[in-house]
Symmetry: C2
DNA sequence: TTGTATGCGTTATCAC
DNA sequence: GTGATAACGCATACAA
C-alpha cells in the first residue's frame, strides 16, 4: 500500500486528476456534486497532497520563512499562532528561523538555504533599515517581505501602536493621580507622584527595536498633555535581575503615594516583587501599570496593556499572501491597538 | 534567463544529465576528467540544484527536523553549528523547530506539518521518555530519531558526560583545598570549606533535563571519594536574578577561605558579581568553579568546564545519517567529555 | 464544467 | 563510465 496520490483520488471519485487538483486549490469552476465526491474520495483514502510535487509543478516553494528573535516570551508564541493560522489556510508551510546570533542571519539569507527558497519572508520585531544597511554584508531578501511588530517605510508591515499604548498608560496614570488628589484634600503633592521605568534600548545592535521607545514617548506625551509631570525615570535592561535592582532603587527614592508605569511587564513584575518584600500596599499607596499582559499578569492583578498579537500576526500573513498572489502598489501598514486592562495593582 | 537546470549543465559540459546527477551525488563511477568538466559547467552557470525536484524524484524530503528549546545560550548556537555542518555535507536541509511551549510540540509532530515530512528528527536536551509518555496525547515521530545532549535507552544519542564534568570539578576542588591546607599549617579547617550551587530541576515539566543532576552527582561523588565534604549546598533556578540572590546568601553564610562550585556559568557569574560587590578576592580567599565555558568566562577569568558542543552536534548528525542510509542494529550512544579550563578564579 | 496531455527538475534504471 | 529515458506527483493549458 503506497501513499495515495492524486491519481488514486481521481480514479476513486470517477473524475480526472485536473478536477481533483481544482477542488484542492479552490478553483471555483467545479460543480458542487463533483466537488463533494472528490472530497469524499479524499477522505476515504486519507489522501494528503505531496508538497514536493506541488512545489515542482507549481514552480513555487509554497513556503514562508519567518525570522524570529529567540526570546522565550508568550508574545512570540501568540505571534506565531496568528501567522501560522493564516498561512495554513492558504496552504503555505512556514519555516521558522530563530535568529540565535548575528552570523546566523547572513547564513539564513544566503542563497543556498531554505530561507532563500521561500516565496516570502516575515521578519519580526527587527529594525529592517538597520539590518540591511550597507556595509554589513547582508543583502536584502529579494522576494516579498512583510514586517511584523515593527514598521519601516516602503515595506508592508503589521505593527502594534506602542505610541498609543504608552499614551493610554499616561492618560490613565494621570487620571489616577487626579482622583487621588481629590480624595485627600490639601495635600501639596495633589495625589502623589508619578514614576516610570523604561527598557534600555540597546544601541549598535542588530536586534534593536523601537517598541520600547514608542511606549516611552507616548506615555510622556500623554502625561504632559494632562498637565502632569514625571518625578523620576529609571532605566533597566530587559532582564529580571537588572529589573529587580532598578525596582529597589526606585522604591528607595520614591515618595509615596506613587504611581509607577513600567514599559514592560517584566519590569512591572520586579516592582511587584520588591514592593511585596517591603510590605507596601500595591494598588493603594503604590500603584503599578505594566505593559504586555503576560500570562501571570491576571493572577497577580497587574493593570497592564493587552495587545492583539495573534490578530497582528494573522494580518501580517494576509499582507504577504496578497503580494504572493500578484498584488502591486505601495506598501501597506496595518496598525493594531493595545487595550488597557485595569486590575487591582492600580486599585481597580 | 531562467534559472539553469541540470539539463543546461549537461549540455554545457557535453555530457548527459545522468552524469551530472552522479557528480552531484558523489556516485564514484565517473571519470575524473568528466567530473571536472561538469564541475566547471556548474561553476560557470552558477547552477544550484532544485531541491524540490530532487525531493520528488528521490522520494525523500532531504530534510531533517531539529527540535530545540528556546533558550538564548551559546550552547545551542554551537550545537546547531555542528548539526548543520554535518547535514549540509550530506546535502540535507535542516528545519529548526523552536519548542516555544508544550502545545507546539504536538503541532510540530502532527501529520500535516513540515516536521512530520522530514526524513529524520533530532531532539535536543529533552527527556524523551517523559516527552512521549502515554497520556500526553503526543505520539512519537515514526522516522529515525536521534537525541542530542540527552540520552535514553533504545535511541541513538550523542550526549555530554556531565557526570564526568561534575567529577572533574569535584576532584579539582578537593585538590585545591588540600593544597591550600598544606600552605597554611595548623588551620583546623585544613584549606578552607567547600560549597556548591545547583540548578533547580523543574519537576513535572516537559522541558526537563538530567544535565544538572548529573553534574551534581559527579561532583558529590568525587568530593566524597577524595575524603572531603561539602559545607553547604544552595539551589537556584536558571535565572540571573535568582542566581544573584542565592550568591548573596551563600556569601553571607560561607566561612572563608572557600571554594565554590557552581553547576552552570550563569550561577558562577552571579557569584563573581556578588564577590566583586563585596570586595572579595576571587582566586584567593574565594575560589570559584563554573560549568559551560560561556563566551565571557575567559574574559572574566572563570575556571570552568568546556564542552565539545559542536563535535557532539556533528556526531549526532552522523548517527542519524547512518540510519537514513539504511543502517540497522541496536541504538548507539556517543559520549563526549567536558574538559576543565583553569583560570584565575581558582588562582590559576 | 471537466478530462487529457504536457511540463516541472531531479534521481534511478537501464542499456551501451 | 556514460547517455538515454522512465518515473516521481502535481498544476495547468488546452481541448472537449
Amino acid at each position: 500500500m503506497h501513499k495515495p496520490t492524486i491519481q488514486d483520488v481521481a480514479r476513486r471519485a470517477g473524475v480526472g486528476v485536473g478536477t481533483v487538483s481544482r477542488v484542492l486549490n479552490n478553483h471555483a469552476a467545479v460543480r458542487d456534486s463533483t466537488r463533494d465526491s472528490v472530497l469524499g474520495a479524499i477522505a476515504e483514502l486519507n489522501y494528503t497532497p505531496n508538497p514536493h510535487a506541488r512545489r515542482i509543478a507549481g514552480g513555487k516553494s509554497y513556503t514562508i520563512s519567518v525570522l524570529l528573535p529567540v526570546v522565550t516570551t508568550e508574545f512570540y508564541v501568540r505571534l506565531l499562532d496568528g501567522l501560522e493560522q493564516a498561512f495554513q489556510e492558504a496552504r503555505y508551510d512556514v519555516a521558522i528561523f530563530p535568529l540565535l546570533d548575528r552570523s546566523r542571519l547572513e547564513r539564513y539569507l544566503g542563497s543556498h538555504t531554505l530561507a532563500y527558497q521561500a516565496d516570502g519572508l516575515v521578519m519580526a520585531t527587527y529594525n529592517l533599515t538597520q539590518m540591511f544597511q550597507s556595509g554589513t554584508g547582508i543583502r536584502p531578501y529579494s522576494g516579498p517581505t512583510v514586517l511584523v511588530d515593527a514598521h519601516a517605510e516602503g515595506v508592508d508591515c503589521a505593527y502594534m501602536d506602542n505610541l498609543l499604548g504608552g499614551r493610554l498608560a499616561g492618560e490613565y496614570a494621570s487620571q489616577l493621580i487626579r482622583q487621588q488628589g481629590e480624595g485627600q484634600q490639601g495635600e501639596g503633592q495633589q495625589g502623589g507622584r508619578l514614576y516610570a521605568v523604561w527598557v534600555e534600548t540597546e544601541l549598535d545592535q542588530l536586534f534593536t527595536t523601537r517598541v520600547f521607545d514608542d511606549r516611552r514617548s507616548g506615555f510622556l506625551e500623554a502625561v504632559q498633555l494632562s498637565g502632569g509631570r514625571v518625578s523620576g525615570e529609571y532605566v533597566s535592561s530587559f532582564d529580571s535581575l537588572a529589573a529587580r535592582t532598578v525596582a529597589a532603587q526606585l522604591l528607595d527614592e520614591a515618595v509615596l503615594p506613587a504611581t509607577v508605569f513600567a514599559s514592560a511587564d517584566l519590569l512591572a513584575g520586579a516592582l511587584l516583587d520588591e514592593a511585596q518584600a517591603r510590605g507596601l500596599t500595591v494598588g493603594g499607596e503604590l500603584k503599578i501599570i505594566g505593559f504586555d499582559d503576560q500570562p501571570w499578569a491576571q493572577g497577580r492583578g497587574l493593570t497592564t496593556l493587552h495587545q492583539p498579537v495573534e490578530a497582528m500576526g494573522y494580518e501580517a500573513a494576509q499582507l504577504l499572501l496578497a503580494r504572493l498572489s500578484g498584488e502591486e502598489g505601495p506598501a501597506r501598514a496595518r496598525r493594531f491597538e493595545p487595550r488597557l486592562i485595569v486590575r487591582k495593582s492600580t486599585g481597580g
